[in-house]
Each structure stands twice: as structure tokens, then as C-alpha cells.
Symmetry: C2
Subunit: 152 residues, 2 copies
Amino acid sequence: MAELETELREGEVAIALPPQSDAGVYFIGTIRTPWPTRRDCPKRGSLDGPSCSIVVDERWREALTDLAAYKRIQVLYWMHHARRDLVLQTPFSSMLTTGTFALRSPVRPNPIASSIVQLISIDGTTLQVRGLDCVDGTPLLDIKPERGALAD
Amino acid sequence: MAELETELREGEVAIALPPQSDAGVYFIGTIRTPWPTRRDCPKRGSLDGPSCSIVVDERWREALTDLAAYKRIQVLYWMHHARRDLVLQTPFSSMLTTGTFALRSPVRPNPIASSIVQLISIDGTTLQVRGLDCVDGTPLLDIKPERGALAD
């Protein structure tokens, strides 16, 4: 939890979060990348970037059936290091204050990221992909084929 | 809950879900569409389709700051009618059994949908958009600008 930010930059506004959540998500696997901390991560994943692993929990093995037919997949994951209570943010890159929903920052009420990645291979419950930009150990939420992305 | 499916079609496999969830999501608003049930929904949203409303909860009002600069936004929502325990599914449209992660079906461990929609207008905390295909009353999870989708 050392990466949790608690200080506010100029212009940033935090609100009180709702007293309880409305639904629960299951972490269905783990994403392994070369980047141990958020500071190490590229700003945006590249299809030319390094191969990363997605390790799906054994419970969901059969759900991978036929996925190898796709060359591009959508990966949803949980940005577990991000705070959730900012409505206005001042990104360090621009130092311009703007609304959370006008940013793709990890800091948001529900820290769910969506990436389209290239599927290289599947071996058992481990996928090799290119195009991710998240920290090593990020919890996996979902895998879906990108629309119309059947392999040649 | 009348729409919850409990029967299995040929080839479908249900598993035991984990005993508890790993993180909680907040419903941050409600999506209003012309489709009262899943049966009424189009199979896929179209940018030529009807205008739908996204009503953001008052708590998150400031997070909409500057969003109007974007012409296309990504909307994440929770498909609250879908069961979560199928690893193999037999879609009615094809009657071919395949893995949950090789489908974009609402039925998945975490029923999170992602749609890219056209942003028509924002009035207070209500957005008008085109391109959704979900049932009326669907809970909203997130709004983000599509990458590179600044309005002209």
C-alpha cells in the first residue's frame, strides 16, 4: 500500500465515498509484467512492447476454450493501488486541473482499466500478450475477444 | 430478477463461484434506454441508434468537468441481470458451445460491459449519448474519454 497517494495537488478535490459498495468483483487471475511499481510503467501500452503474462485462476480454466482463435483481446483489470475519491485531478504531466471522467487516470470511483492487447499464445491457463502497461501483480477482472478480431 | 437464467443449455457448464468477492464497485449513476428488458435490446449498439441518457449521481458532479470536450467516450456499466457462474456457454444465436472468455456475452464472472459511444450533450449531470445497447436502468460504473477523441 506504499504507493497509495493521500496528498492533494493544487486544484484537486476529494469527496466522501459512498458508505458501502453496490456489487462485488472477483479477481480471476493475476497479470505479470516487467514493471514492479507504477513509476516504472509506460504511460501507455504498445503492441511493440514486452510480452506480459496473464495467469488465469484454475477455477476459470474452461472459460478459455476457443479464445486462441482471436488475435486481439480486451483485458479488464483492477488498478488496486489507486485512490477512488477524487472528482477533480491535476495530472503531474500537465498540471491542469480537470474532472476525473475527462481523464483516463487510474484514480476514479471504480478503478477498472480496459486494454486491447495482442494475444501471442495460450499455454494452459497462462496467456502471453503484448500491449499492457500495468504494474506487476495487477488483479485480472475479465478477458473478452475484441469485436471482429478472429485470427487470420 | 425475473430475467435471471437458471437453466443450462446443452454443453453449458456452471462452476461454484468463489465464496466471497475481492473488491467492491460503486454504482455511480443509471443508464436510461428505450429497452425495458434484455429481449428488447439491440444485439450491438449503433452510433445511428436512439439517443440514451446517462444520469450521473450528484456525488460525482464535479468529475464531469471538461468531459464535454470529447466527442466519443467509453462507458463502463454493470450487467446486473446476468448470471456469473458459466465457464462454457451455448449462445442461442449459434448454438455452438464455447468458453466464456471467447464470448462478449453478458454472462461472465464480472459482468462489466465496455462501450464506446458518441457524446451528444451534457446538461448538469445528465449525458445524452448514442451507441448503447443495454437495458433501461443499467447501473453505471465509469466514464472515460476515448483515447484521442477530442471534439473538432
